[in-house]
């Protein structure tokens, strides 16, 4: 509550901190309110600063979504362990459609590419997955695939 006394601009940042604190997440658009444009005066009011608060906090995945894709990850693991990488990747792609912003799914994909011997794609996939990871072990594991 103290934040509101610091000033309106800080308050915007403050409003970000609350969800971020639990989501351990930073957001590119979730920076402080863009001040009025520098070069050209804008005739219309600038929309409020981006404070993306999707119904599911990022970095903490919805339990239903995790329950939906987890069996697919397990099946993909089985397929990959039998050397059927195509099938494994197809299953992971279905998992990705269910949870497009899940770093865990990206991690499984990167791992499958690596086992398949496609190090370049493993690296590119892991790098992309990092954009969605909320810190911790998953981030570190993704980093380990980046060349």
């Amino acid at each position: 509550m103290m934040l509101h006394r610091i000033g309106p601009r800080l308050a915007v940042v403050g409003s970000l901190l609350l969800p971020s604190a639990c989501a351990v997440y930073t957001r590119p658009g979730a920076e402080p309110e863009p001040p009025a444009p520098v070069v050209t005066p804008t005739p219309e009011p600038i929309p409020p600063a981006p404070t993306p608060l999707p119904d599911v906090p990022r970095g903490r995945e919805d339990a239903g979504v995790v329950a939906a894709y987890s069996p697919l990850l397990a099946k993909a693991e089985t397929a990959a362990s039998q050397g059927d990488y195509e099938q494994a990747l197809a299953l992971l792609e279905r998992a990705q459609r269910i949870a497009p912003d899940s770093a865990a799914v990206y991690l499984a994909m990167a791992g499958t590419y690596a086992r398949k011997g496609d190090k370049a794609r493993a690296s590119a996939t892991a790098e992309r997955g990092l954009l969605y990871c909320g810190g911790g072990a998953v981030c570190e594991e993704l980093r380990s695939y980046i060349r």
């Binding site: 520098v38 070069v39 239903g64």
Partner: protein, 754 residues
């Protein structure tokens, strides 16, 4: 004398042998291909199956729409598969189940509860169900070989009067002849003689079929002889029913844009929007009449001639005893009764067109020839509905007169899957597919490539770099002078790089692009997936060239995905009749641009919609929903473009005129409206990437480009590629924010997350 006779004999023998070889060749051709042609099954094309799970971003209304499309019946008491009921936030479905290539989805009775735009719970038989998919919507059938969409029909489903009428008009001796008909030829010759011109061909139905299948339309004697021989051979090998069924499915009945209408079943759907089995006598007669001249008697183009022809056919049918005179009289009195919408229901021609092309471009010939393929596509009927609705809403508003055309492409940000596509204002009408085939200058839509090329050189350029927005004059190699101007006709002096893009300043962008070099720009565009239509001239910096909306979707897909080039896909996999997967098309991430530089570019594209030329977007979207995008306008407002992305979707919209005339629109007043209207209803995820490793946030004074303290004049926190932030400091606020203050917290969080 003897030698002449001898020679004649030899020549005749040789000719006889040659003729025999020819006949054998034709026979082999017929027996090897006719059965295949006759029984060729269309490849079934499916939309993506709808995935259901608790947490899915789907509303009850969306699910009900999908079920209706799939032909599920809404009932009060669910009894069997294909039934559903819905009440407020609950939908209960008895799914039909489906044999997917990888797995069988069983028929299940499932109860879903919704909370707003989300599925909150899903259960079957009182037990929680984690995941299931509905059967996929069939969006068309493609004959791989012909590349056409057809509706096949079995002979027993064709109205008896239509078959009898067809024979009465086209080939009275069909049931008795052996492929050709002397009496038919004599009758044709007689009527030709009477009228003094060729009015009848005298070809039997069998001959017509041979002609359609195997021969060119030119009228030469050799071709005619060949047709005759093949017709006889066809009759020798196949039954009358087989021949007639093939004919009914093959006959050409006109053109709808680039799409040929083949077969009575598709003709019935196209001209009357009615299944073949349900056609009235007058409608059957019209289709029969069209066989003689599909273009001449096209009821949409020549209604009077078509009506006259239809009535002649009705007379012949009565005269030959196919129908009674009384029935003929009633049918004659009926109007043409055409399908006013001139479209085939539930068809998505623009998307099917893309599927067809990708099949042809990427598919092996031997696989295409396999019968009964199932093609599982990326098409999303829910997004398509939204795109069609947004397009209609905005276009009706800005152009009631109907002069303008439009095209839009929607893809999924993470995978590059094409989810929805509109190729023209009448989106259900097959015609010129502008999304794929329009070639237009891109205007400012190409500018991000210029800025990305700059940001990939962090030693030279950052978002805070000062660009010169001052008049520019360049002599071209052909002696002409290129002198670009800003939209507002003003020069704005020194401007920060990010706001030059946000405000779409032409002078600053052109100068920047020329500094970087045209080769660099061409290379950057290629890395982002745009190679066709690029002209390496100075005006390339401002979007010169010829690009399709699909090409622009590729460009923005690469930027939105973070510098990964993702080929846009419309097909997920192709399976054969046994459910074996023949081909899979997987998403493959290939990095082609710097992740860090792309992140910076995304920041600038967010600024476009927050404070620049694209801020009209937030008249539709809630302020907290972050998206990034760019407007594009070409000379005299000939093209109005908008391209951009949210956290889940990439969309590109174009509005213009087919005659390339002025529209009076800018990117913001036209295409932006379609884009934003669509995004506000369809996108479920704002853009909220975590910054990549190697990016830091630094507060700078945007007026000077120097570092400054939080809260100082002109202060703005911008992302920089690590090590590229300005080193000079304004001196303001160096001590202003105490350690542990809010700014430091933000930075620590940022760093910690790295």
């Amino acid at each position: 004398m003897a030698s002449i006779r001898n020679m004649l004999l030899k020549t005749s023998l040789a000719a006889l042998v040659l003729a025999a070889v020819w006949v054998v060749y034709l026979d082999a051709k017929i027996t090897s291909t006719f059965a295949e042609k006759m029984w060729e099954l269309p490849a079934k094309v499916y939309a993506r199956p709808l995935e259901l799970f608790a947490g899915a971003r789907l509303s009850a209304d969306d699910l009900v729409y999908e079920l209706e499309l799939l032909g599920y019946r809404k009932v009060s008491t669910i009894r069997s598969p294909g039934h559903f009921s819905s009440y407020r936030n609950r939908v209960e479905v008895y799914t039909r189940g489906f044999e997917f290539p990888d797995e069988r989805e069983r028929s299940t009775r499932v109860l879903l509860e919704f909370s707003g735009q989300r599925v909150s719970t899903m259960a079957a038989g009182g037990q929680r169900l984690d995941l299931m998919r509905l059967d996929p919507l069939q969006i068309g059938g493609i004959y791989p070989r012909h590349g056409e969409d057809r509706v096949l029909v079995r002979l027993e489903d064709v109205p008896v009067t239509l078959l009898a009428g067809l024979k009465a008009v086209e080939d009275r001796a069909f049931d008795s002849h052996h492929g050709f008909s002397i009496s038919g030829i004599a009758r044709a010759a007689l009527s030709n003689l009477r009228s003094g011109q060729v009015v009848a061909g005298g070809s039997t139905i069998t001959q017509q079929l041979v002609k359609n299948y195997y021969l060119t339309p030119d009228r030469t004697l050799v071709r005619k002889v060949r047709e005759l021989i093949m017709a006889v051979l066809l009759e020798f090998h196949y039954s009358k029913d087989q021949i007639l069924e093939s004919y009914v499915n093959e006959i050409y009945l006109g053109q709808e844009g680039p799409r040929a209408i083949h077969g009575f079943a598709l003709g019935a759907r196209h001209y009357f929007d009615t299944p073949l089995e349900q056609l009235g006598l007058q409608e059957q007669a019209l289709l029969i009449g069209m066989v003689k001249g599909p273009s001449l008697y096209n009821p949409l183009r020549n209604p009077e001639r078509a009506l006259e022809r239809r009535n002649v056919v009705l007379d012949v049918m009565a005269e030959q005893g196919v129908i009674s005179a009384e029935h003929a009289r009633i049918a004659r009195a009926m109007p043409l009764g055409l399908n006013g919408r001139r479209q085939i229901r539930n068809s998505f021609p623009a998307f099917l067109d893309l599927v067809r092309r990708q099949l042809r471009a990427e598919y092996r010939e031997e696989d295409l020839a396999t019968q009964g393929l199932s093609i599982f596509t990326t098409f999303d009927p829910l997004l398509q509905r939204q795109l069609e609705a947004s397009t209609a809403r905005v276009l009706d508003q800005i152009d009631g007169a109907g002069k303008l055309e439009t095209a839009s492409v929607v893809t999924r940000l993470d995978t590059g899957e094409v989810a929805a596509l509109i190729g023209g204002r009448r989106s259900r009408y097959a015609g010129f597919n502008r999304a794929l085939d329009a070639r237009r200058p891109a205007g400012s839509l190409l500018k991000p490539a210029v800025y990305l090329a700059a940001l990939e050189r962090p030693r030279d350029y950052t978002l805070a770099s000062r660009l010169s927005d001052t008049p520019l004059r360049k002599e071209l190699s052909n002696g002409q002078v290129w002198e670009p101007r800003n939209f507002d006709r003003q020069a704005h002096g020194a401007v920060p790089l990010f706001s030059a893009l946000a405000n779409s300043y032409n002078l600053a962008t052109a100068r920047l692009g020329l500094e970087l070099g045209l080769d660099t720009l061409v290379d950057t565009l290629a890395r982002l997936g745009v190679t066709e239509g690029v002209s390496a001239v100075p005006a390339l910096t401002l979007g010169a060239g010829e690009y399709s909306p699909l090409a622009m979707a590729t460009l923005y897909q690469s930027i939105g995905a973070g510098g990964y080039r993702l080929p846009l896909r419309s097909i997920r996999n192709v399976a054969d009749a046994q459910g074996e997967i023949l081909s899979r098309y997987l998403t493959e991430y290939d990095r082609t641009a710097s992740l860090q530089a792309t992140y910076l570019l995304q920041f600038a594209l967010q600024e476009v919609v927050r404070a620049g030329s694209g801020k009209g977007v937030y008249r539709y979207l809630p302020g907290e929903f972050t998206v990034a995008g760019k407007t594009g306008t070409t000379n005299d407002g000939r093209d109005s473009w908008f391209a951009g992305f949210s956290g889940d979707l990439v969309a590109v919209s174009w509005i213009g005129r087919d005659d390339n005339g002025a529209t009076g629109l800018t990117g913001a007043s036209g295409a932006l409206q379609v884009w934003a209207d669509f995004m506000s209803r369809a996108s479920r995820q704002p853009l909220e990437y975590r910054p990549p490793d190697g990016v830091e946030l630094v507060t700078v004074d945007v007026a000077s480009g120097q570092r400054t303290g939080d809260g100082c004049p002109n202060a703005r926190m911008l992302p920089f590629i690590t090590g590229s932030a300005p080193s000079q400091h304004t001196g303001c606020g160096q001590q202003a924010v105490p350690a542990g203050g809010i700014g430091d917290w933000f930075r620590r969080l940022f760093k910690g997350a790295n």
